[in-house]
Symmetry: C2
C-alpha cells in the first residue's frame, strides 16, 4: 500500500493547500449554468421532431467552446481537456448503474441470448471488420507510424456505440422488444469494447500466435464472468445488510446512502481488480432492483428510483456538454490543419467502416435469432432490424475516452498518426451524433408511425394482466407470468426439448423456482417485506416490471 497520497489527492481534486481557487469556482459556475440551460432548453424542445437532449447538450457545448475560445482570444489552447479519469470514475458509473436499475428485467432476461448475440458477438464482428479495414486502407495512406496494436485499438474504439439518442426516442412500453434489444446491446457493447480494449493493451500483439489468441479469448471470458459475479455479489450484500439490520426502522437516508455507496463501491472494486466496472455496476443495478429495492421503505423506493435516474440524467447531459466543449481544443487540430483533405478522408473511411461493420452483424444475427423463435411476435421484423442497425451507428464518449487512452499516452502525444486518430475520432463522434442523431426521430416515426405505436400500446395495455392481486400473493404472482406464457399459448414440451427450443425462457423458469426457494428468503425481494396496498408504489411497481 505504498501509495503516493499527495498525488492521489491532487488527482481527485482533494488537495490544494492554497486558498480556494477563483478559477475553479468560475469553471464550476459555467458548467452548472450550462447544465441547467440544457435541461430547460431540452424540455422546451421536447416536442420538436428533430431534437433530443443529447444533441442539444452537444450543440450548447460546442457554442460555449467557441465563445470561450473567442473570449480567451484563441491563445488559450486548452479550453477544456477531456479526462478519462473523470469520465470513467465519476460520469459513467451512474449512467450504467441506472441502466441496470431501471431495466425491465423480465424483457431483458427473456431476450438475454439475443442481446448477448448482438452485444458480444456482434461487437466482435464489428471490431474485426473495422480493424481489418483500418489495416488495409490506412497503411496505404501516409498518416504516420501506427503499430498493429493501434489498428486493433481503432477497431475497439469504433465498436463502442452510444445508443442514448435512440433510447430517448424509443418507448419502453410501446416497443418493449425493440427497446430491450437496443438497450441491452448498448450496455453489453460498452462492456465488450472496454474489455476488448484493455485486453489489446495488455497483450503483446506483435508476436501473435494461437496461444496468444486463446489466452486473449480466455481472458475475455474471465473478465466477463468475474465482473458479472462481482456485481451480483455487491447487490446481494446490500440486500442482505438492509434486510438483516432492517434499516427502515429508523431512517430512509441510511438506506438510500447505503444503496448508492454499495453500487459505487462495486464499480470501483471492479476497477481496482482490473475487471470491467461497467458490467459489474450494471448487474449490481439489476440485483439491487430485484432484491434490495424491495427491502427498503416506501419512501426509499420512490427516492432511489428517481434519484438514480436524476444522477444518470445529469451525468449524460454533462457528458455531451463536455464532449462538445472538448471538441474545439485547438492543439490537436494544429497537426492535421496542414492536410485537411486527408483528415476528412480518414473520418469518412471510419464512418464507412462503422456503417458496414454494424450492418455485417445486425442482419445476419437477427436472422439467426429469428430462427429460434416460433411465434411471429417474437421475431425481429426487417423494419426493427433497420432501427437496431441505426441505433448503434452513433459513437460517443466511450470512443473518445478510449481514443485518448490509446493515442495520447506518454511520449508520443505529438506524433502525426496519433493526432490524426484523435481528430478523426472527434469528427466521427460529432458527425454521427449530430447528423445520424438528428435523423433518428424522423426515421423511427417513418418506420414505426406513432398511430401504429399507439395501437400497439393500447393492445399491450389491455392484454397485460395487471391485477393488483399479484401483489397480495406475490409468490403466485411471480410464477404466474412465465406459467401463462409457456403453458397456455403452446403445448407444453418436455423439459429437454424446452431447454433446446426456448432456452432463455426455460432458464428464466428454473431461475424463478430457485429464486423463490432460496434467494428471496435470504435476500428479500418482492413479497418478503410488508406491502401496503393502495399506495403509489403499487403503481410504480406495475409500471416497472
Amino acid at each position: 500500500m505504498a501509495v503516493d497520497w499527495g498525488t492521489v489527492m491532487v488527482k481527485l481534486g482533494l488537495s490544494g493547500l492554497d486558498t480556494s481557487d477563483h478559477a475553479s469556482v468560475v469553471s464550476i459556475n459555467i458548467f452548472v449554468t450550462l447544465i441547467c440551460a440544457c435541461i430547460v432548453i431540452g424540455h422546451l424542445l421536447e416536442e420538436n421532431r428533430w431534437m433530443n437532449e443529447s444533441i442539444t447538450s452537444l450543440i450548447i457545448g460546442l457554442c460555449t467552446g467557441i465563445v470561450l475560445r473567442l473570449a480567451t482570444r484563441g491563445n488559450n489552447s486548452r479550453v477544456m481537456v477531456f479526462s478519462e479519469d473523470l469520465f470513467f470514475i465519476y460520469v459513467l458509473p451512474p449512467i450504467i448503474f441506472n441502466a441496470g436499475f431501471q431495466v425491465k428485467k423480465k424483457q431483458f432476461f427473456r431476450n438475454f441470448i439475443t442481446i448477448m448475440l448482438f452485444g458480444a458477438v456482434g461487437t466482435l464482428i464489428s471490431f474485426i471488420i473495422i480493424s481489418i479495414g483500418a489495416v488495409e486502407i490506412f497503411r496505404k495512406m501516409d498518416i504516420g507510424a501506427l503499430e498493429i496494436g493501434d489498428y486493433l485499438a481503432i477497431g475497439a474504439i469504433f465498436s463502442a456505440t452510444d445508443s442514448v439518442c435512440t433510447l430517448q426516442v424509443l418507448n419502453q412500453d410501446e416497443t418493449p422488444l425493440l427497446y430491450s434489444l437496443v438497450f441491452g446491446e448498448g450496455v453489453v457493447n460498452d462492456a465488450t469494447s472496454v474489455v476488448l480494449f484493455n485486453a489489446i493493451q495488455k497483450f503483446d500483439l506483435v508476436h501473435m500466435d494461437v496461444t496468444v489468441v486463446l489466452k486473449f479469448v480466455a481472458n475475455f471470458f474471465y473478465l466477463f464472468s468475474t465482473s458479472t459475479l462481482l456485481g451480483a455479489l455487491g447487490g446481494l450484500l446490500s440486500a442482505y445488510i438492509i434486510k438483516k439490520l432492517y434499516f427502515g426502522r429508523h431512517s430512509t437516508d441510511r438506506e438510500v446512502a447505503l444503496m448508492i455507496l454499495m453500487a459505487y463501491l462495486s464499480y470501483m472494486l471492479a476497477e481496482l481488480l482490473d475487471l470491467s466496472g461497467i458490467l459489474t455496476v450494471f448487474f449490481c443495478g439489476i440485483v439491487m432492483s430485484h432484491y434490495t429495492w424491495h427491502n427498503v421503505t416506501e419512501s426509499s423506493r420512490i427516492t432511489t428510483k428517481h434519484a438514480f435516474a436524476t444522477l444518470s440524467f445529469i451525468a449524460e447531459v454533462f457528458l455531451f456538454l463536455y464532449v462538445g466543449m472538448d471538441a474545439l481544443d485547438i492543439e490537436k487540430w494544429q497537426f492535421v490543419s496542414n492536410s485537411p483533405g486527408k483528415s476528412v478522408g480518414l473520418s469518412s473511411i471510419l464512418l464507412g467502416l462503422v456503417l458496414i461493420g454494424r450492418a455485417a452483424f445486425v442482419f445476419p444475427l437477427s436472422f439467426i435469432s429469428n430462427l429460434s423463435k416460433r411465434s411471429q411476435n417474437d421475431k425481429i421484423t426487417f423494419k426493427q432490424q433497420v432501427i437496431i442497425w441505426w441505433a448503434g451507428l452513433m459513437r460517443g464518449a466511450v470512443s473518445i475516452a478510449l481514443a485518448y487512452n490509446q493515442f495520447t499516452r506518454s511520449g508520443h502525444t505529438h506524433q502525426r498518426g496519433n493526432a490524426f486518430m484523435i481528430t478523426s475520432t472527434i469528427t466521427v463522434v460529432l458527425f454521427s451524433t449530430m447528423v445520424f442523431g438528428l435523423m433518428t426521430k424522423p426515421l423511427i416515426y417513418f418506420l414505426l408511425p406513432p398511430s401504429m405505436k399507439h395501437l400497439t400500446r393500447s393492445l399491450s395495455l389491455s392484454s397485460e394482466p395487471s391485477s393488483p392481486k399479484s401483489f397480495l400473493s406475490p409468490l403466485l404472482g411471480n410464477g404466474q407470468g412465465s406459467e401463462l406464457e409457456t403453458g397456455h399459448s403452446i403445448p407444453r414440451p418436455t423439459s429437454l426439448r424446452m431447454l433446446l427450443m426456448t432456452p432463455s425462457r426455460s432458464v428464466h423458469h428454473y431461475w424463478r423456482k430457485f429464486d423463490d426457494a432460496f434467494m428471496r428468503p435470504m435476500f428479500g425481494g418482492r413479497g418478503f417485506v410488508p406491502f401496503v396496498p393502495g399506495s403509489p408504489i403499487e403503481r410504480s411497481v406495475l409500471e416497472w416490471e
Copy 2:
C-alpha cells in the same frame, strides 16, 4: 476570463491525460468502504447511550489513519491532507442546503430574532473574547511570531461551532423551540464566522482606526444581506421556471436535477461574487422548500426530500472520517513534538476561552430574549440555556478549514507559530467532538428526561391542529396558524403595539399576507398546484411544517 484551464482542471480532478490512476482508485475504494462501515456501525450503535454517528466516523477515521500510517511504515508523511477546496466546494454545500430545506420554517421564523441574536451577536461576542484572550495570553508564551491579523483569525476560527452532534440527539418534534434555536444558531454562526474571517483577511488591520472598524461593520452587513438576497432569488427563479414550464408534465428527473443544480449554482455564484455561500444556499433551501417543492410532482417531492437528506448525511459522515484521518498527518506534529507541554497548554487555554466565550453570550442573550416574551412557554429555561451553551462547544471542520487557510498560506507553512496553531486547532476539534460530544447524549437525557420529553410530545401532538382540511383550502389553512395564536390566546393589541411587543410574530403575519397576495400566485407554493388528498405526501407535509 483569462483562466488557466489546465490548472483548474487539475484542481477539480478533471484532468489527467495519463491512464486511469491506480492509486486514486485505491483511495476511493477505501473512502467508500469506510463510509459504508460508518453507516452500518452508526446504525448498530444508535441505541447506545453515548455514541452518535459523528463520533463513530471520527473514531473510524482516526483508526484508519493509524492503520494507513503503519501500513506505509510511517515514512509517508501525508496520509491524508485536509483540503479546503474539497470542503467548501463539495462537502459543505449539501449539508447547509439540506439544513435550509428541512428546517421547520414556522419555528425558525418565529424565533428569528433570538436566532440572529445568538448566531450573529453571540458569535461576535465570542470572537471578541477569544481574540482578546489570545492576544493577552499567547503574547506571554514563546510560540513564535503572530500578527494582529492572526489573533483576530484565531477568534474567528474558534467561534465557528459544530452543532451536528447535538442536533442528532435533539428531536425537532419533542423540543421544537430548543431545536430551532440550536439549529438556527449553528447555521447563522457558520456564516458569521466565515464572513468575519474573510473580512479579517481582506482588511488592513495593523493600522486600525474608526474608519476601518466602520467599513468592517458595513462590509459585514453588506455580505449578510446580499448573500441572503442571492439565495432567495435563486430559490424563486427555480420555483418560477418549474411552475412556468410545468416540468412535471413529462419528467420527475428534470425537476429534481434542476432543483439540485440551481441550489448548487446559487452557492457557487455566491462564492464567485465573494459573498457567503453558506448563507446563500441556506436561504435558497428555505425558499425552495416554501415554493419550488410545492410546484413539482409528488414523486419529486418525496425524492428531493430524501435525496437532499441523504446527500447531506453522506457529506457529514465523510467529513468526520476525513477530519479523523487528517489528524494524524505527521508533518505538522514534528514542529511541536519538541515542546509537548506548551502544545497541551495552548490547547487547554483555547478550550477554556471557547467555554468562557460561549457562556459570555448564551446566558446574557437568553435573559434579553426572555424579556421580550410574555408567555412562560416561549421563554428559554435555565436548563435549555445550559443545553444551548453545551451544543455550541464542539468545534468542527469549519474551524479546521479556516485554520488551514490562515496558517498554511504561502511561505510561512513551516513557522513555529503556525505549526502550533494548526496542531492546537486539531487538538481542540478532536477533544471537543469526542469528549464533549460523548457527554451530549447523557447530558440532554439528564436535563430533559425522556419521560418528560414524551409528555411534551404527546401534548404538542394533541394541541396541533392537523386537520387535512387545511390542504383542501390552503389559503385558509395558511392564515389559520398565526390567527389562532395571535388572536385567541391574548387580547388583540393594536398593530403598533403588536409590532413592538412581538416583532417576529407580527412580521410573520404580514409576510403571510404578502405571500398569499403576491408571491404564491407568481411562484407557486402550497395550494397553487393540484393536490391529491390521501396520498402519502399529505403525511409528509404534515410532519414537515
